[in-house]
């Protein structure tokens, strides 16, 4: 199941790459670097989420940061 999920992610990321490729060719270096770093973040995060679905995220961070405000209400 997890292997299939990772495969699916790779396929989707490849699709995205293929669709955006014509545009990327025309663009400069900065854009290419930015594009690939976002894709990297995507890939790593997606694989992590497939392997550890219960991984704590920003939502929990917000909960933790603002927990002390709750008693006001």
């Amino acid at each position: 199941m997890k292997v299939l999920g990772i495969l699916g992610i790779i396929v989707i990321l490849l699709f995205i790459f293929l669709i955006q490729r014509p545009g990327l060719k025309r663009s400069g270096k900065r854009e290419k670097i930015a594009f690939f770093s976002i894709m990297m973040v995507n890939g790593v995060l997606a694989v992590l989420l497939v392997i550890f679905p219960e991984m704590p995220g920003p939502g929990q961070m917000i909960d933790f940061l603002y927990k002390s405000f709750k008693p006001f209400w």
Binding site: F15, L18, I19, P22
Partner: protein, 397 residues
Amino acid sequence: MCKIQAIKRTFTLFLLIFLSSMVLTGCWDRTEINDLALILAAGMDKGKNNNIELSVLVFIPRPQQSGQGNEMSSGGSSGQSFVRSAEGKTIADAMARLQEALTRKIFWGQSEVILIGDKLAKKGISEQIDFWMRHSEPRIRADVLVAKGKAKTVLKAIPELEKDASIQLRKIVKSHIGVRVTVKDLLQMLSHTSNVAVLPWVENLPPTQMDKKKAIPIIKGAAVFKDGKMVGRLSDKETRGILWPRNEMKTGVITISFTGEEGSISLNLLRSHNKLIPSIKNGKWSMRIKTNADLEVFQNTTEFNLFDPNVIKKAEKKVVYEIEERERLVMTELQKKLNADILGFADEFEKKYPQIWKKNRDQWNEIFPEIAVSFDTKVKIQRTGLADEKHKRGAER
């Protein structure tokens, strides 16, 4: 070069179409109409070992016969619906059992009637209402009724005029013979502090009025609930008494007679408007029930001439007395015997005196029987019909 780009473009286009078609089907939740068992009405009864028995009236889809008239509907039990039931710990559990015996998926979207057997009603209904609110299919507009005996038997009834028990009950409820309560209304009543509710009471038509073998459900009075349990019943006449203050009185014939006079006058109700006016003075709680009603004369078997304004006044006075008498009858029943505030007095007090109410909310059960109820009824006879009384006196002349 150009060619390769064109190929690439078509390739990406196909990919896009392929991707979106995969995503847009929504095939997980696909259900065709011939995979659905349409539920027309549901009944809840007390089963064995504290279980719930859920009975459903399932619609049988049949193609309409062309030109042949309706042979099917006259064919007795082989009508257009059937009843199935199953037991379970909860309604959802019973529904799962029920599903095992049906080839099609149960669909609640068309279920417009929910019947509760009297045994279950006496045991308590508040837990069961949860299902009807939580599940996303059943309508919260469905009418809720309490059946004498088992709900299952009522669902099995085959009325003469209507196709099945569901339509029969729905139409009777709609005609404002008794109270009309939907799932939403019931929940609203139960969630209020006073925690009382009133539901229409379904009985079979007495055998004197029809063929003995058949059982036809009609509405006869109302069932009163307190803390989620049925605590008592109101008769047909008493129910009319609560319809006035609940603003549900839409039709009805009132017959009055005068002492020392032969015959009586029957009046038809055209419209009525009612209002509850609470007041708290010096710690004394009182409620004024204000009623305005317009009537027309249907029949006059007395010797009175209705063109005489004095007679009209007299008749109006008598009607006022009649209406107040019914209301008084039911109020003593509610206040002294059942201690159930089904007219929503608590709500009225809360809205007018929120601060006093907050202090006394917990003592409401002690306060309610002591509330002084007064009546303020205004009646107007609008029309006296198409004929006058002279034809009766024709012989004298």
